[in-house]
């Protein structure tokens, strides 16, 4: 376009000079025309750098109900094409299939978007749909990995933020990576970027942020946790275009996390799947702020991807789709991020205030992942793994789910069964001799212990309870996913 403008100016100048009529006035006119054209060209370039068109298409439908219509979705996509500039700035080889990581589709349901597959990683295979247990500090709470492996656990999630603070990437790298450090040579690992912790530092947990209506934790005078210690008297977290500042909850050191540094740390950890830096805004946020947040997340994720591709180290990188519950923003996010050479897609950001909103979000969003090359890559739902959400999300084509929910429940005396949760601390279990936690469960806990003994251990505050409870809950989740896979294969889902 720039070249065309210059050509027009040249032609007009030539014509004027040739005719030699009107002299300086013509020259002045041509100059002004050239200036105007140049300005317009610069505006367009700036627009493409911010990744979105500055003009809203007039026929975009923003209400959720209308957006379910695939026709309207198509209209939106035609008016908001992915930024070609950014995607073309990645080398061609980045778009080629990886030889160390791939998603294998085993069976696609004919009744829904549910599917059975396998994710192949350098350290093992993950059957999907599958549950991902969370080992925050490189260890499952109260559980040796051998017990977790015996309970059927495949993929394990480690939190990059916590590992950054303790022991630090250099220690893990010296040890040969997380697999060697934790001694899990035959189990795949996934690490995140720390983006979620940015959110939790600033706004508290998801529940807290919903209750506080998106207020920063610094406003909450009752909050006295170390994590909310302020940065130089201000909020505990400071987000800039380059990255995010926050304080270590361990020793108060100020830390600056950038899209590049988080990738460098994850390279040191050496997990099979890594995640770029993103910003997670709270549920209650005005739209303009949400737009800015999504934009920033996209820019960060692009930078992270660029750094990752400098040396992939046999690691796969998933993008994180954002946009809250806003149809338009989610759509834009999907369109943009899936145009880049990520190896998989994580659904992140604010996922609604409850399970129903989450499912509603997935209902209109997930069909986008069935189009074209997107269906060949795995999809992960971040931070959600309660049973109700899983059962509904599987139908929409989610492949993996991570959450500390099952292990956290077990620490607090709640055990999962096919008939619902049981609270082992209840006195009614004290004489449940010979009664397993779950009559159909075959975990080590259910094989050897009854509810009465587990009640005793829990009441006596024996650490053994934590292990036994975690073994059971993890196996329960893995059994649940196995049932889902079988149900899909049997045509029931």
């Amino acid at each position: 376009m720039m070249k065309n403008n210059i050509f027009i100016i040249f032609i007009m100048s030539f014509l004027c000079l040739k005719n030699d009529c009107r002299g300086n006035k013509v020259t002045a006119f041509v100059f002004q025309l050239g200036t105007h054209v140049t300005k317009r060209s610069n505006l367009q370039n700036r627009a493409s750098r911010s990744l979105y068109s500055t003009q809203e298409p007039r026929d975009v439908v923003s209400s959720q109900q209308d957006a379910k219509s695939s026709t309207n979705m198509k209209v939106m996509r035609e008016h908001n094409p992915p930024s070609i500039d950014e995607s073309s700035s990645f080398p061609d080889w980045a778009y080629q299939p990886r030889d160390f990581f791939r998603y294998e589709l085993i069976y696609q349901s004919k009744k829904s978007n549910a599917r059975v597959g396998r994710i192949h990683t350098p350290h093992g295979v993950i059957d999907t749909p599958g549950f991902v247990a969370v080992a925050t500090n490189g260890a499952l709470k109260g559980l040796d990995m051998r017990d977790a492996d015996a309970a059927g656990q495949q993929l394990v999630f480690c939190n990059s933020y916590h590992l950054l603070l303790q022991p630090g990437p250099e220690v893990i790298e010296e040890a040969g990576g997380l697999h060697k450090f934790m001694n899990r040579p035959n189990g795949p690992l996934i690490t995140d970027s720390g983006g979620f912790q940015v959110f939790s530092l600033a706004y508290g947990s998801v529940q807290e942020s919903l209750e506080s209506q998106g207020e920063l934790k610094r406003s909450n005078s009752k909050s006295s946790s170390k994590s909310s210690s302020s940065l130089d008297g201000g909020p505990p977290v400071k987000v800039t275009e380059d990255g995010v500042y926050f304080r270590s909850y361990r020793d108060g050191t100020k830390i600056f996390l950038t899209p590049e540094s988080t990738v460098d740390a994850q390279k040191s950890y050496g997990a099979d799947i890594i995640i770029p830096l993103d910003q997670l805004p709270p549920y209650h946020i005005d739209r303009q702020q949400l737009v800015e947040s999504v934009d920033r997340s996209h820019r960060w994720e692009t930078r992270s991807l660029r750094r990752h591709l400098e040396n992939t180290k046999d690691q796969a990188m998933y993008c994180v789709v954002h946009g809250g519950v806003d149809v338009e923003l989610r759509t834009k996010s999907v369109e943009y991020l899936t145009s880049l050479p990520f190896d998989g897609y994580a659904i992140g950001g604010s996922l609604g205030k409850n399970s129903d909103e989450l499912i509603s979000l997935l209902e209109w969003m997930m069909p986008m992942f069935e189009e074209g090359h997107r269906k060949d890559k795995p999809r992960h739902l971040l931070g959600i793994a309660d049973e109700k959400s899983i059962l509904k999300s599987v139908k929409h084509g989610i492949d993996t789910f991570d959450s500390c929910y099952p292990t956290r429940l077990s620490r607090h005396g709640t055990l999962l069964t096919r008939e619902g949760k049981i609270h082992i601390k209840s006195g009614k279990h004290s004489k449940s001799y010979g009664v397993k936690i779950d009559s159909e469960c075959n975990c080590k806990t259910c094989q050897h212990y009854d509810r009465s003994y587990l009640w005793h251990l829990y009441k006596a505050k024996e650490p053994l309870f934590m292990q036994l409870g975690a073994v059971h809950n993890i196996q329960y989740m893995n059994d649940l996913m196995a049932q889902q896979r079988q149900a899909i294969l049997d045509g029931k889902i």
């Binding site: 925050t136 500090n137 490189g138 260890a139 499952l140 709470k141 109260g142 559980l143 040796d144 051998r146 017990d147 015996a150 916590h162 303790q166 022991p167 220690v171 010296e174 040890a175 450090f181 934790m182 001694n183 006195g427 004290s430 001799y433 080590k444 094989q447 050897h448 212990y449 009854d450 003994y453 005793h456 251990l457 009441k459 006596a460 505050k461 024996e462 650490p463 053994l464 934590m466 292990q467 036994l468 073994v471």
Partner: protein
């Protein structure tokens, strides 16, 4: 040296601390020689596996929140109500110990050698009941002081105890022993205790005992020794009456604090002449670890062996606080040595050094160079990629499974897995030490 010196492991609340079935079966299988020959699991009747927990009537039973004041006793509608601080736990009158076979109560694998005891240390119970952290601190001080006290007991410990006022009212009566349980202080007679013990169906049982503190007066010490002796008689009679005719079943308790004087007086029953001597496995020296001087500890063992026990009768101590005490006891001919060191060290982030090193140091120098452990919370282990011990076959070290750096990280991250790995390691090395102490010669660890 005695063959097959056994470690009496305090199984708190009847559970094998920290170890799931999967790990137990792999690393501490009852069929393994190391376990079969050198491990006995001690079950205390005061633990929650035996004492049913009653519904609280109010307050929080979190032990850490218990303040340091004496428990008060109130009577309410004919039911004894004990108040430990704000907590009121109502129990029916009479003893309330749940008597079932131990494998039903605890789900321990069958095959482990098990022993019933009333408690491991009455005095320890009172500390634990009041403040677990305080106990840990004082234990650490006692362990440190234990080396100094051999030469110079300046009574500092006594002063601390007098000032702290932490002891609840746990004094026994002539007929009943007071045990601190999660329901508060409960009293039990020797016959009730014998009945409970037999129903638990363990391999052996320790008779009920009373225990005085070294700082107690002479009268109290004599009373404790005499009661222990009487209760032994009653236990023996109960077992003979209600038992299944088994032999070599009961450990006779001998209260060390004050007991020596009675041996010297000749007023202590010579158990070698006892009518029911066949029932006795041996003599358990209760409160042995409270004797401050090493010389006195060895002396009492020798006296008991000469004056009280029949030839070939085994000796047992209930609670050794340090590695030095363990090696001392073994050198003196004690065949069963109780300790909770593997657990205590695991909780305080300590990994035992090689059992062989401990044995060799003691043989060559008569003492240990260190306390016998590495403190893995120390920053110097942050980058140490080596396992805790290179040739150790425990669940943490075997095949270099976990490095010191990883365990250090787990400790810093406050992960329970650190305690699991440390306990497994400490127990393994402790059993190896007992193996060396038994055979009195260098042995390589059996795979």
């Amino acid at each position: 040296m005695t063959d097959n010196i056994k470690l009496l492991l305090h199984a708190e609340d009847g559970s094998f601390p920290y170890l799931s079935d999967n790990l137990l079966a792999t690393y501490f299988n009852p069929e393994d020689d190391l376990v079969k020959n050198h491990l006995t699991i001690g079950i205390a009747v005061k633990d929650t596996c035996v004492v049913p927990l009653y519904k609280k009537t109010g307050g929080d039973t979190n032990v850490k929140k218990l303040k340091r004041k004496r428990s008060t006793k109130e009577e309410h509608n004919g039911t004894e109500t004990h108040t430990m601080q704000q907590n009121k736990v109502t129990k029916p009158s009479g003893y309330t110990f749940d008597a079932k076979p131990i494998h039903e109560l605890t789900h321990l694998f069958s095959g482990y050698d098990t022993m019933v005891v009333p408690t491991f240390d009455l005095l320890e119970d009172s500390w634990v009941a009041m403040d677990k952290e305080l106990v840990a601190r004082h234990k650490k001080q006692r362990i440190t002081k234990g080396e100094e006290e051999d030469d110079d007991d300046n009574g500092e410990e006594k002063k601390k105890r007098e000032n702290s006022k932490v002891f609840p009212n746990v004094s026994s009566t002539k007929d009943k022993s007071s045990l601190i349980t999660p329901n508060g202080v409960q009293q039990i007679t020797p016959c009730m205790y014998a009945e409970v013990g037999m129903k638990l169906q363990c391999n052996s049982m320790l008779s009920l005992f009373d225990q005085a503190h070294p700082d107690d007066g002479k009268k109290r010490k004599i009373a404790a020794v005499e009661r222990t002796q009487e209760w032994l008689e009653k236990c023996l009679s109960s077992i003979k009456l209600k038992g299944d005719g088994r032999q070599k079943y009961l450990w006779g308790a001998f209260s060390c604090v004050g007991g020596e004087r009675l041996i010297a007086d000749g007023s202590f029953t010579d158990l070698t002449q006892h009518d029911n001597v066949l029932l006795l496995i041996g003599i358990a020296l209760v409160g042995w670890h409270h004797i401050p001087r090493r010389h006195d500890r060895i002396k009492i063992v020798n006296k008991v062996r000469k004056k009280v026990a029949a030839p070939g009768t085994q000796l047992c101590i209930l609670a050794a606080l340090t590695l030095e005490q363990i090696v001392e006891a073994a050198s003196s001919g004690v065949g069963t040595i109780g300790t909770s060191l593997p657990v205590v060290w695991a909780r305080s982030h300590k990994a035992m050094v090689s059992g062989l090193d401990v044995y060799q140091q003691y043989q060559s120098k008569g003492r240990l160079d260190s306390h016998g452990y590495m403190d893995l919370s120390n920053e110097k282990y942050r980058d140490d990629e080596s396992p805790m011990l290179p040739n150790c076959l425990c669940l943490a070290c075997k095949n270099g499974r976990h490095s010191k750096a990883y365990i250090h990280h787990l400790i810093k991250a406050n992960e329970l897995l650190a305690q699991i790995l440390l306990f497994g390691h400490n127990l393994n090395q402790m059993l190896c030490l007992f193996q060396y102490l038994s055979k009195g010669e260098e042995k390589e660890e059996q795979s």
